[in-house]
Amino acid sequence: MKTLNVSVVTPDGPALEGSYEMVSCRAESGELGILPDHIPLVAPLTISAVRLKKEGQTEYLAVTGGFVEVRPDHVTILAQAAEQPSDIDVDRAKQAKERAEQRMNQKAEDIDFKRAELALQRAINRIDVSEK
């Protein structure tokens, strides 16, 4: 079966490198499923989980602030942060979630609210991924 080379790079260094049969991710315009020989594509990703499938197994990766760049045999995910479930600090994510919820309940200025919302999304995403 054909495979895709997937590399995930972050400013702190490459996070993952490997070949997979399918990559699914959530772009800002909707779910994307990428199989080998996909047309070249660039799309921004939401704060979400990227799913990498290989031999019936699925690996998850929590990404923040990411982009996917697709070429026929290669998928590159550029993200500001990308974590595998084993690397996620669940306690920290839970604390971040509580903090963000508190801040959102205070209903401060718009900008703060937006930031809190993003922080909440990141925390929830991490917790979700770590439970998979």
Partner: protein
């Protein structure tokens, strides 16, 4: 001539200073290794994001974005990367001198520019010279990760997108090698000098469209330029401190040699004097 004990004291204190400088040299050397690794780990990300930006902005796709356009410069923002601590040789003074020169050459009043200093030394310099500080960051770790710099980077980028500033420059020491660093003034925004020549442009489908992508991609690109400069600056800082400490250790060696020589001379003089006195005393008895 200084007494024997004075010289001995000086030798001892120089030796203990030398121990400290030697330890600092070794610490900086290991930090430099790490900093270089960090800078290396960042390269693939930067390359890739640059690729995509070049492809979209350089291709004749008709996509446009405020960050790609230069507008009349009413106010300039400067990010200055310095260290929190001194003892790094000319590391800080070089950057700050470059900043000072730039400011004096280009601006006649403090309304025309604003500074975002990173590091205590830079902050103190700006305060002392009455430069307007937009936001300051101190206490950055030796191995910063992206999350820590993101806030300040996006703050600076937002200043630009809110048209608070019309140009964003970054001053830092570019790491060339362990013994050589060069002060660099880099224009971060607007992104007018994206090089497209000589590069193979591949055509992509854009999802949803180019402009949406530029909207999210360009701020990230600018932030990564800032982060890259910080990593570069950190490597330079450690290299510079290592070199400074090495020459301090060497100087201490030299000083100890000189002092030991004069210690021995003084000791010899004292012995000679004692002998003369004994001989004189014995001669008086005869």
């Amino acid at each position: 001539m200084a007494s024997l004990r004075d010289i001995k004291n000086r030798i001892n204190s120089t030796k203990s200073t030398q121990k400290i400088t030697k330890a600092m040299e070794m610490v900086s050397a290991s930090k430099l290794n790490k900093a270089e690794e960090n800078a290396k780990a960042f390269v693939p990300y930067m390359d890739k994001i640059q690729d995509v930006v070049t492809n979209i902005a350089g291709g004749n796709t008709g996509a446009d974005h405020p960050m790609l356009q230069s507008r009349p410069v009413k106010k300039t923002g400067y990010i200055v990367i310095t260290s929190d601590r001194g003892l790094a040789g000319p590391y800080n003074s070089n950057v700050l001198r470059a900043l000072n020169q730039k400011v004096q050459n280009n601006h006649s009043s403090t309304d025309e520019y604003t500074v975002v200093p990173l590091g205590k030394v830079g902050r103190d310099f700006c305060k002392k010279n009455g430069m307007p500080i937009a936001k300051e960051v101190t206490g950055l770790p030796d191995q910063p990760d992206f999350a820590e710099i993101k806030e300040i980077a996006s703050y600076a980028v937002n200043l630009f997108s809110d048209e608070e500033i019309d140009e964003l420059h970054i001053f830092y020491n570019h790491f060339i090698s362990a013994i050589s660093q060069k002060v660099t003034d880099k224009k971060v925004l607007p992104l007018t000098d994206i090089e497209t020549e000589g590069k193979k442009l591949s055509s992509y489908e854009y999802e949803p469209d180019e402009e949406q992508i530029l909207k999210t991609l360009l701020p990230q690109y600018a932030e990564s330029i800032v982060y890259g400069a910080l990593l570069d600056g950190k490597a330079s800082e450690h290299a510079s401190r290592m070199t400074a400490m090495r020459s301090a250790t060497d100087n201490a060696d030299e000083l100890i040699d000189d002092l030991t020589l004069s210690y021995n001379r003084a000791r010899q003089a004292a012995i000679t004097q004692e002998i003369t006195e004994i001989v004189g005393g014995a001669a008086a008895l005869e």
